[in-house]
Structures are given as structure tokens and as C-alpha cells.
């Protein structure tokens, strides 16, 4: 019996941690690839309304956002309190929309141009006037796929 019980049995063998960095790196790369960094700081307050007939937007690279709402407290001295449009990370006028769309189109390959979607993130309390102007501008610039961003309704 004593032949098999060697002195190594007294202390348990150490678990090798040499592969730990590899595992962590794998997780790290996964998150780095899937992360979409928030591209715009919101200067307008947007609380989207609720709806039931929702479609999920696939492929974030084909979507650009138009935010509409009242400027937040920090920017009220600069832009006033009337509802305004924010494109990218700056407050813009409606006339800037065609250029904004063109800038997005350059980044997308030609074959996918028809699938570009404008996501309108509009505050629920904004009146239709400005939204209508935006819609007209989008139609005039031939950007017809529009998504009215909304939250799922909780009943």
C-alpha cells in the first residue's frame, strides 16, 4: 500500500491559472465587438410614447436617429424652450436633414441604400407641427423608410 501513497497526496495540486487571461481576453473581445458606443449626447429631452405594433430595428449601421424634443435645462439658455431637432450630437434646423442623410449614405454601400431607416425619436408631448415638417423634408429627400420610435406598452 505504501507503494502508492506518495508525499504528493498530502497537499492538493494547484489549479493552473495560466489560461485565465485567455478566457478573459475572449470575453473582452466579445464585448468590444458587440459594443455600440453611445454616439450622441442628448441635448433635448425625449420620452418616446408607448405603442403595441412594434418592429425591431435590425442592423444599426443602416439606422440614423432624429431626436425631437424640448432642450434640456442645461441647453435652454442657448436654444430656448421650443421643441427642436437634434441630428447627431448637435441641435439643427430642418433644412440640415438632407445633408445629414447624405452623410449617412456615404458610409453605407450602394446596394443597401434602400434599406436605410430614419428613426424618429420624438417626445410624446411635442406637437405635430415640427414632426410634419420633418416628414415632408424626408419625403422630399426621398428617404421613405421611417420608424416612429416607441416603447412597448405595459398594461
Amino acid at each position: 500500500m505504501s507503494k502508492f501513497s506518495d508525499k504528493g497526496g498530502k497537499e492538493p495540486p494547484k489549479v493552473s491559472t495560466a489560461s485565465l487571461p485567455d478566457i478573459v481576453f475572449m470575453l473582452l473581445f466579445f464585448f468590444m465587438v458587440t459594443t455600440v458606443l453611445r454616439d450622441a449626447e442628448l441635448k433635448v429631452a425625449v420620452s418616446v410614447p408607448q405603442a403595441t405594433e412594434l418592429t425591431k430595428l435590425e442592423q444599426k449601421s443602416l439606422v440614423h436617429y432624429l431626436y425631437v424634443g424640448r432642450p434640456t435645462q442645461k441647453y435652454q439658455s442657448l436654444y430656448g424652450t421650443r421643441p427642436t431637432l437634434q441630428l447627431g450630437d448637435k441641435i439643427s434646423g430642418i433644412e440640415d436633414i438632407p445633408i445629414f442623410i447624405e452623410k449617412h449614405k456615404i458610409k453605407v454601400s450602394e446596394s443597401q441604400h434602400g434599406r436605410i431607416t430614419s428613426s424618429l425619436r420624438v417626445d410624446g408631448d411635442v406637437t405635430m407641427g415640427i414632426v410634419q415638417d420633418i416628414k415632408t423634408k424626408l419625403r422630399k429627400s426621398n428617404q421613405l423608410r421611417v420608424n416612429y420610435s416607441a416603447k412597448p406598452r405595459q398594461d
Partner: protein, 184 residues
């Protein structure tokens, strides 16, 4: 001499023990900054721009389901005040017209939903109305799909089936230029 070279080799090895810590630090940074918010919404296809207004007066009146919203967010459906909650059922009845009534649509293919709002209408109300109309159609699609194929209408169905059902109840929403009475 031989002794020294062994010592050199030992000191040349970089200690990789802290590698995991560094990687963890980066990992936690990405975990915190990641926003997994999926954007959802009501997908709409706008009509192409044309300078002349489409004339819906030419259409047969019984085929047009007009929904007007004023600046006080009140609804007028085919001339009578209605609540948003009743809109879906009324729209469904209008499109399908199960009792073959004279004043409702001739057939679902000819039905047209006409929306008109004011520039002072709240966006919330506008979207609610749009949502109800879409919900009416998707319920009709569901019913049709259940009757024929025994399952709900969804995007997972083959394109042919989806096309067939949609062509039976084509979703036609016409949006008129808004009035301007109550813009702030």
C-alpha cells in the same frame, strides 16, 4: 560563466500574472459602457413626394375611413366623435365589413384609411391613432392566417403566405396635409 547564463534566462521571463487583471479591467470597462438597448418602433413607409395633393374626393365615400384629430387631441371618425379605445374595433369593422353594410367598405382591398391631424395635435395622440389602425390590420391578418393556416401571422412565415394575406387586406393609410389651427 555557465551559472550566469542560467540566471539571465530566468530574469528575461516577463511575469504574466497581472495580464488577467489588466484584461479584467478592460472587460469591466466595456461591460459598463455597453448599452444593449434595442430600438423598437412603428415602421412606416412614407409616400414619395409629389407636388400635387392626391384627391380623395374622387373615391367612393363608403370606401374612405376618415380619422380627424384636432389640436385638443379629440378624434372625429367619419363625422362622429370617438374615443381612441374604440378606434381599433371600428376600423376592423369598416375594413372587413362582415355584415355587408351599405355604408362600410365594399371590400377590404378598396378600403382606405385617411388620417388628418392638426399641427397642434400631440405626437403621442398621432402615434396612438396610427398604432390602433395598424393593430386593426394586424388583427385581421392574424384572423385570416388562423383560418387558413392555423397559426398567427408573423414575420417567420414564408414570404408567399405573407404576401397572400397582406394582399387580401392591403394596408393603405393616406395622410393628408395637416390643418393649422392650434400650433403653439
Amino acid at each position: 560563466m555557465a551559472k550566469k547564463s542560467v540566471k539571465d534566462r530566468v530574469s528575461n521571463e516577463i511575469n504574466a500574472g497581472s495580464m488577467a487583471d489588466i484584461a479584467f479591467l478592460l472587460l469591466i470597462f466595456f461591460l459598463v459602457t455597453t448599452t444593449i438597448d434595442v430600438d423598437k418602433g412603428v415602421l412606416v413607409k412614407l409616400p414619395p413626394w409629389s407636388d400635387e395633393e392626391p384627391d380623395i374626393t374622387k373615391l367612393n365615400k363608403r370606401n374612405v375611413f376618415s380619422v380627424l384629430v384636432n389640436a385638443q387631441n379629440q378624434l372625429l371618425v367619419r363625422g362622429e366623435p370617438t374615443k381612441v379605445e374604440d378606434l381599433k374595433d371600428r376600423t376592423k369593422e369598416f375594413i372587413a365589413n362582415p355584415q355587408r353594410r351599405e355604408d362600410l367598405s365594399e371590400s377590404p382591398k378598396k378600403a382606405i384609411i385617411s388620417l388628418k391631424n392638426d399641427r397642434g395635435t400631440k405626437y403621442k395622440t398621432y402615434l396612438e391613432v396610427y398604432n390602433e389602425v395598424k393593430a386593426a390590420y394586424s388583427e385581421l391578418w392574424n384572423e385570416e392566417c388562423q383560418r387558413k393556416y392555423g397559426q398567427d401571422y408573423s414575420d417567420d412565415l414564408p414570404v408567399a403566405i405573407r404576401k397572400e394575406i397582406r394582399s387580401k387586406f392591403p394596408l393603405v393609410i393616406s395622410e393628408a396635409e395637416p390643418t393649422n389651427f392650434g400650433e403653439e
